[in-house]
């Protein structure tokens, strides 16, 4: 990325924070056998150290398990080899130089177990055994790094690329005034889909580089508007979100039945929702109040029998705006 050199003196970004916790998560999700090396170069204890050197060189490895009669009895590493070389004793059998006290890890354990051993015992590699204590592989810190990177690449590349692209949208497209409009059709009575539009809008805003605080406020406001359309609007309605770098304009439009008394509808606890809907936990009479709390401006235009248009606006502070100011703005708690 183009901002790479700045990274050191920057405060950690949300993106980076996500990535760190995702790495930790992966250490618990991935199992040792998913990243270990299976192609073992097992060495017999009688093998001469000189031959071990050849094996290491050919296989480009720096250590191998020592196995006698199918049983793991030690590990021989490059350091052991150097010791033998220093003592001009490369004719000696592996048994003389290998490390006997062998720590092992179970193949089915999560990566974190191997990481703990690496951390505590300062070893470079660990033989991996199955439930019957049979040697099935070997794991190094390098295996863990590449395994985690692979998994990260797999599930993060897509989201990262999306975020990266979306975040630069407002910088990359030049106009006197650029805005992005999102539209969602909301069906009457579609409770199971309730919250879909708001989730999508929240995610879109985060991708565009909005602060978590702004995304949350929009999410809550849109959720309530969405549920109002689902519960009250005769034919459902439309949610339209216009995003500009410095402000977000949201509209919820329907064609009926309209609000007879807007002031009354604004009163906390007042609701016209039928009992069947209240039983589901909706119709608390808090919707419009909740929306008002989350936005900077709210405007309700309603004609009984004709429909309702709810207009909401969130203004971003200069340091919160999307686009070129985005990089400064990615730390949570700034608001």
């Amino acid at each position: 990325m183009d901002d790479e050199p700045l990274r050191k003196d920057r405060i950690i970004t949300d993106g980076a924070a996500n990535l760190i916790s995702r790495v930790e998560e992966l250490a618990y999700e991935l199992t040792i056998d998913e990243v270990m090396t299976r192609d073992l170069k097992a060495i017999a204890p009688g093998t001469k150290m000189g031959e071990v050197m050849e094996t290491f060189r050919e296989a480009r490895i720096s250590g191998a398990p020592v196995v006698a009669n199918g049983e793991l009895i030690g590990v021989v590493s490059l350091e052991d080899l150097i010791r033998a070389l220093r003592e001009s004793n490369i004719e000696a059998p592996v048994g003389e130089y290998m490390t006997r006290m062998v720590l092992t890890v179970n193949a089915r354990n999560p990566l974190i177990e191997a990481l703990k051993v690496f951390e505590q015992k300062r070893v470079g590699r660990l033989p991996v055994v199955d439930d019957d204590n049979k040697l099935v592989g070997i794991i190094t810190k390098g295996d863990i790094t590449s395994g985690v990177m692979h998994a990260l690449e797999y599930d993060y590349q897509e989201e990262e690329v999306r975020r990266y692209r979306a975040r630069h949208l407002f910088e990359d497209i030049v106009s006197d005034r650029t805005s992005l409009t999102l539209r969602y059709k909301i069906q009457h009575g579609a409770f199971a889909q309730g919250g879909n539009a708001s989730s999508h809008i929240k995610r879109a805003l985060l991708r565009l580089g909005a602060s978590p605080q702004i995304a949350r406020r929009c999410g809550i406001a849109i959720y309530e508007a969405e549920m109002n359309l689902i519960i009250h609007a005769t034919h459902g309605g439309m949610i339209r979100v216009e995003i500009e770098p410095h402000r977000i304009l949201m509209e919820a439009i329907d064609d009926g039945p309209g609000i007879y008394d807007v002031d009354l509808a604004m009163k906390p606890g007042y609701s016209t929702a039928p009992d069947s809907i209240r039983e589901l936990g909706f119709g608390a009479g808090m919707g419009l109040k909740n929306i008002q709390r989350c936005v900077d401006d709210m405007y309700v235009d309603s004609t009984p029998g004709r429909g309702t248009r709810l207009e909401l606006r969130i203004n971003m502070q200069p340091q919160e705006s999307l686009g070129d100011a985005t990089h400064k703005n990615l730390t949570d708690g700034g608001a």
Binding site: A192, G195, R216, Y223, G281, F282
Partner: protein, 115 residues
């Protein structure tokens, strides 16, 4: 600060969604209500929400509010689609036969507070 793992153990909760390392999840506070708009207004980020609602919408709310977990009381059971959606959104759904009052009392004993 109590962890979600400790809460699950102490209250004998059933984990309905995918298992993860709950000892790394430290809820910031708690909230109890069955009225969704009240939850929207009152639940803080990273709260544990106690409710007997079990329909798909509770997942949407938890996702929008970044809640730590939902404890569904009195044995109410969300349908498979809701659980799948919770897994997608990374929301922890926990279930218990106990009543909301009891659960809240236990959470308070475990040190969970509202700000």
């Amino acid at each position: 600060m109590t962890t979600l793992q400790n809460i699950i153990d102490q209250l004998g909760l059933i984990v309905l969604t995918e298992g993860r390392d709950f000892s790394q999840v430290t809820p910031a506070s708690g909230y109890a209500s069955d009225l969704l708009s009240c939850v929207m207004a009152g639940a803080q980020k990273r709260s544990v929400w106690v409710t007997l609602q079990a329909h798909a919408n509770i997942v949407a709310i938890a996702a929008l509010l970044d809640l730590s977990a939902i404890i569904i009381t009195e044995g109410a059971m969300p349908d498979a689609a809701s659980i799948a959606r919770a897994n997608e959104e990374g929301i922890n759904l926990l279930s218990t036969q106990k009543q909301t009052f009891t659960v809240v009392g236990r959470l308070w004993e475990l040190g969970l507070r509202t700000e």
